[in-house]
């Protein structure tokens, strides 16, 4: 081993003053993004999502006889159900593995010994994963849009663009929930299990619960809407349908109520719901992580 002369810092006080929060967050985000895109799960997810998205585009075109609007509209409708299953699952699992995985590998302790705050670490990891997830989905959406544009032109593309935007918002919300679960779990296996359970509740059980509640408690239409919209997946679905049809009439009385009551504000309200699902779990995760008595 080479031993070179080691210069002692003349003014140690200067070290601390040059550290900034933003650059620490960026450093973590870059590392998280690089780790994510080089991991197997990211590659598998991107390939699977892209194949499915392109397949849905081709099927939509076959069914519509290559009529432009029908091409994009049917693709958006077809992708809606695929997204509601796949995107929350991936975002929840990615988030769940983040902090708990570092904790289990022992790397979290080493990171926390560096001149960073816990908030910076969490936010950096969140941003890095969020960018990786959105990039992954945009590859699938981009190829799907390319197929449609090649066959039928750009008619009706605005609904498709809104689908992409709301999908990213849904991914951010689910990633926040996943990170909260990760902060609460000591082991990544437990965090992933909790993530799967949350996915099951949001995708399947909440719908069943709402149906049962509506029948049992004879809920009014506005109450059904209020409860339903609290589920980020339902908010996402309504937002995409509103952007496709300009109304929620296809969802029955609840959709009609929402369209008539909120009108043009409805997409914004639904975006606000997804935004709340993004900010609140992440804020709780930051709070809990910052106050933890151990690693």
């Amino acid at each position: 081993m080479t031993t070179l002369p080691i210069k002692t810092s003349p003014q140690p006080a200067a070290i601390g003053t040059h550290l900034s929060k933003v650059s620490s967050v960026i450093a973590f985000a870059r590392r998280e993004f690089r780790d994510a895109v080089s991991s197997r799960w990211f590659i598998l997810y991107t390939v699977a999502f892209t194949v499915l998205a392109v397949a849905v585009s081709f099927m939509s075109l076959a069914g519509s006889g290559s009529h432009g609007f029908a091409g994009f509209g049917r693709t958006t409708a077809g992708l809606l159900n695929l997204i509601m299953l796949v995107v929350p699952l991936m975002a929840l699992i990615a988030g769940a593995g983040s902090i708990a995985g570092e904790r289990e590998r022992g790397t979290l302790l080493y990171l926390l010994a560096q001149p960073i705050s816990r908030t910076e670490l969490l936010l950096g990891k969140y941003i890095g994963l969020a960018i990786a997830l959105c990039c992954s989905m945009c590859i699938g959406f981009g190829l799907s849009a390319g197929v449609l544009a090649w066959r039928v032109g750009g008619v009706g593309i605005s609904a498709f663009v809104m689908l992409v935007l709301f999908t990213c918002l849904l991914a951010l919300a689910m990633l926040s929930v996943g990170m909260l679960l990760s902060v609460l779990s000591r082991r990544s296996g437990v965090a992933t299990g909790l993530g799967l359970f949350a996915w099951l509740i949001l995708v399947f059980l909440s719908d069943l619960g709402l149906m049962a509640g509506t029948i049992l408690f004879k809920l009014r239409v506005q109450e059904v809407f209020a409860i339903g919209v609290m589920n980020p997946l339902q908010a996402f679905k309504m937002a995409v349908i509103v952007n496709m049809n300009a109304s929620l009439d296809v969802l029955g009385p609840v959709g009609m109520y929402a369209s008539q009551t909120f009108g043009g504000m409805l997409p914004w309200i639904l975006a606000l719901v997804l935004g709340t699902w993004t900010i609140v779990p992440l804020a709780i995760a930051v709070l809990i992580f910052s106050k933890r008595g151990s690693v």
């Binding site: 210069k7 002692t8 140690p12 070290i15 620490s24």
Partner: protein, 291 residues
């Protein structure tokens, strides 16, 4: 540089560090000595502000609890268990830590050169030996040239040659004015590096002495590993400590440091306490004047 006052850290009902106070002045080198479970690692983590604890710890006058990030900017840390992302390359790993400390790529290269890892930047971390990982951790600790280096058993994963290299580097750092705080269970490390030894037992500070006071009179110290009957290690460690021996009970067995002309003493002390010593081996010899 470091001022710890009445530091206590509990995990549930277990008190890992119990009302411990010490100061570490600029340019000083302090070793934390004690068996596994004595609280050395917990104390280090509390000092760094990784574990919130009661009492106060300040680094360079900055409270680690309220301004942990700023306080840690004065410290380079080498952990006991090296944990890196194994898929990452050495170059990208050190650049990540360089970015965290606002050091450019030239600074990162200098840190790698200090520990002899230049030219290995493209290697994946999983392909590095334990010694190389240890040196990487040291490079990361030195990357921003911090005035304080905190090390938790820095040579625990190394062979004799690697240990010597790391101790040489640390001696040089100490001689260049760095302030060192390190946990160790090796008398050779303590004798080579430390000016003071904080002896810990069950989370408490029981002695604050010089290495010469801990291992007095003879200039040559040897470490013996004792092989005992199953389940008698704890009581043997207690008996030996009561007899005035420096004992370390860790995952590799019970080690006791003795002057070279009194090697039979621990065995006879244990025999009097009716604890059977099945075998022993001499691990190394330390020359006190090697400092």
């Amino acid at each position: 540089m470091i001022n710890a006052s009445h530091v206590t850290k509990k995990f549930g009902s277990v008190i890992a560090v119990d009302d411990l106070s010490f100061t570490l002045d600029k340019g000083e080198s302090i070793a934390l000595w004690g068996s596994n479970g004595a609280g050395k690692t917990t104390l280090i983590r509390s000092v760094l502000g990784i574990f919130p604890s009661t009492g106060t710890v300040s680094i360079h006058g900055i409270n680690v609890r309220s301004q942990g990030k700023k306080a840690r900017s004065f410290v380079g840390y080498v952990p006991q268990e090296l944990a890196f992302h194994d898929d990452a390359k050495l170059g990208s790993s050190i650049m990540f830590f360089a970015n965290l400390r606002k050091v450019n790529s030239k600074g990162a290269a200098i840190a790698l050169a200090k520990v002899g890892l230049q030219g290995h930047e493209k290697k994946r971390l999983r392909d590095l030996s334990g010694g190389m990982k240890q040196r990487l951790a040291l490079a990361i600790a030195l990357i921003a040239d911090p005035p304080i280096i905190v090390l938790d058993e820095p040579t625990s994963n190394l062979d004799a040659s690697g240990r010597g290299e790391v101790i040489d580097t640390l001696c040089q750092l100490r001689d260049d004015g760095k302030t060192l705080l390190f946990a160790s269970h090796r008398p050779d490390e303590v004798l080579s590096l430390a000016g003071r030894v904080l002896v810990m037992e069950k989370g408490k500070l029981i002695k604050d002495v010089t290495p010469q006071e801990l291992w007095p009179t003879e200039s040559r110290i040897q470490t013996m590993r004792l092989y005992l009957s199953m389940g008698t290690e704890e009581s043997a460690a207690t008996v030996l400590r009561e007899a005035g021996h420096a004992v370390n009970l860790n995952g590799q067995g019970l080690c006791v440091s003795v002057p070279r002309n009194r090697k039979a003493e621990p065995v006879s002390v244990l025999a009097r306490a009716e604890i059977e010593v099945r075998d022993f081996e001499i691990l190394d010899e330390v020359q006190e004047d090697s400092k």
